[in-house]
Symmetry: C2
Subunit: 174 residues, 2 copies
Amino acid sequence: MKADPAPTDPAGPACPPGLPAVAMAGPASHAVSRVARLHRIAAGKVLKGVGLYPGQEFVMMHLWEAGPVRQSELIKAVELDPSTVTKMLQRLEQAGHVRRRPDPADRRAVLVEASDASCGLLAQVERAWGELERHTLAGLDEDERAELLRLLAKVEENLCTETAECPERRAAQG
Amino acid sequence: MKADPAPTDPAGPACPPGLPAVAMAGPASHAVSRVARLHRIAAGKVLKGVGLYPGQEFVMMHLWEAGPVRQSELIKAVELDPSTVTKMLQRLEQAGHVRRRPDPADRRAVLVEASDASCGLLAQVERAWGELERHTLAGLDEDERAELLRLLAKVEENLCTETAECPERRAAQG
DNA sequence: ACCCATTTCTTGGCCGACCAAGGTAATCTT
DNA sequence: AAGATTACCTTGGTCGGCCAAGAAATGGGT
């Protein structure tokens, strides 16, 4: 085994090293994965000063924007798995960023809202998020930015539909 | 606090619903996050039939390609945290996809190689990865694909350098 | 009224991924 | 040769994220 069916074959590879096999099998997928990881790390850094972990900003943003909402509504909004949101909210609550109370109108539902203390973070998060955006798009002119957004939207559409069929699809228009 | 109690507030919002605040604060970052998540889910689906979890394909690809390698070499190649690779390898080993043995030449190092049985997966993984790529890029013509790749590369470069300074930077050229 | 389906949330389990800290072995320094 | 530094890997902890399965309440159908 141990390859030799392999790229770095004795005779000398057709393609120069530096291009891993995975990059050849799917350059765009490879790029997406790499960018995603780096972007998440960068998000973690700018959010660190705010006391949030990457991913939580989406939840908090929605809560700041929408006020007290039913948890199911929040789940639809952020388009994450319910269990993910549950655990995230448990941590956010413990950190004092969020308050939860049972919905009087529907005893199985839970109302969620941003804590008073957390509201001071809104501006910080927006600043951090803006910095992340600037850092991400540095060196891209307006056309390139627009094009990137357009292409990413297309890719998102692809990944949502077709064979994979996105779990929460029609949540968009509300 | 609590913004204005209600989600659909009485006065009517300044901006139409459907554009979450987070999308306004950083549209590209938002798009990257969403695409990343969907892409990972899609990867998980195509890899499920192969018995791999998303992320593991990078490791396996490198092992198939390079044969037995020192773990540190593998870590540099996939550009992940050492602890991440360690735990991943433990699971891959337990699943029978990978073999590990101490390096006789350096008693603190570990040699890793793809198991004989795993080599049958190479073709499947490449097919799955190809399918993922096709799915991701569906509806994009050649120019758009090239442009997307170019822009993602620029973004990756951005996120690697500057304020964030990518942990494993010079690993590129070898 | 009753039973069944649906909605809503939680729990447990598992993975990828990070950081921080530790232990061992090789290497560099003095 | 002894000591300090570095390289290599592991462990433990924490998070986001998924799935599968479950408890609880609501709502519909007959």
